[in-house]
Symmetry: C2
Amino acid sequence: MGDEMTVSKDVVQAVDVAARERLLAAALELFNEKGYAGTSVREIVAAAGVSKPVLYYYFKNKEGIYLELMNETYATFQGVLSQLTATSGTSSERIVAFATSIFDAFVDNIAVVRLIYAIFFGPPQGAPFFSHEQYYDSMIQFIGGLVENGVAAGELRPVNVNDVTWAVISCMNTVMEEQLCNDPPRIDREGLVRILNLILDGVAER
Amino acid sequence: MGDEMTVSKDVVQAVDVAARERLLAAALELFNEKGYAGTSVREIVAAAGVSKPVLYYYFKNKEGIYLELMNETYATFQGVLSQLTATSGTSSERIVAFATSIFDAFVDNIAVVRLIYAIFFGPPQGAPFFSHEQYYDSMIQFIGGLVENGVAAGELRPVNVNDVTWAVISCMNTVMEEQLCNDPPRIDREGLVRILNLILDGVAER
């Protein structure tokens, strides 16, 4: 708390914009290495090669830099969702396209994902609240809508939409977590596509 | 380290056996509440209402009590696996029986599971190494064997055994994690049974 201070804009007038990115990258690396609670503002600015006022200017404090990491990453995922609203194809094709796009975003942002898991499952570290469930729920809704369309179009048998949705999301979760936890992962992107097709073929109209 | 000491058996001669269980329960609660690193032997013995030598006698140190929590829980899961080797029924019935038994053990041991997730995904806390993957691999192998039998018996179509196995394990993982993370969970034991049957019906011989 004592780390906070009001910074006038001219203090950072000469600061290169890249400093902001360096701060985010340094914070992310330190949070993953030492935990959120175990990382100080002093360490973040040292690793980013900037002075404390630069961090205060862009993010206000450690909480701010953490929330920006979350917001940026979820904005990426939200962008994937928005783009996919416009895709064409059968419901099954669209479900697979959705799953692989989310998978790719997960892998591209794996360092932030690692932090999200650490805060979510780890011991209390005093990180500010961030609602992950909101995003998860919008994924469930999106897949649910695609399954519903598939049933309505006669592509899928009149199965329980909710159950198919959970089967799809389960496979996405597990294959993505495998990328996070095992090197090399025991199942990869192609495996995800195969098991989703296996499930979707199983509920396809015969 | 300074907490360790050699304790002669007579020191704890009069100790009730329940003290051991109280120590395990107290340690588990504290580890989940304050993190493994943030919990001291002093706090554990105070919560269990015993003296330090009692903890030293049964577990040697904090690492020992942690490892005993892991070993006891994995022994429970291993017991479930052993019992299931003897079950009868179709491959699909046996897969569902396996999944629900593991689900039940997961829920029964949810406090230890919470600790396992915290150590596995959380920031480094200095907990001694424990191989969770060994257990996970034996689950994969067990399900794989059941799927293989189902294909050999003509109950299931000649699908990719590995893919069906991952679809099953994915659903187990996600539904179990849902019990850990959401109250009330958005999908429960009955939901797990439904989505497994959905997948298995989809690959059944037609």
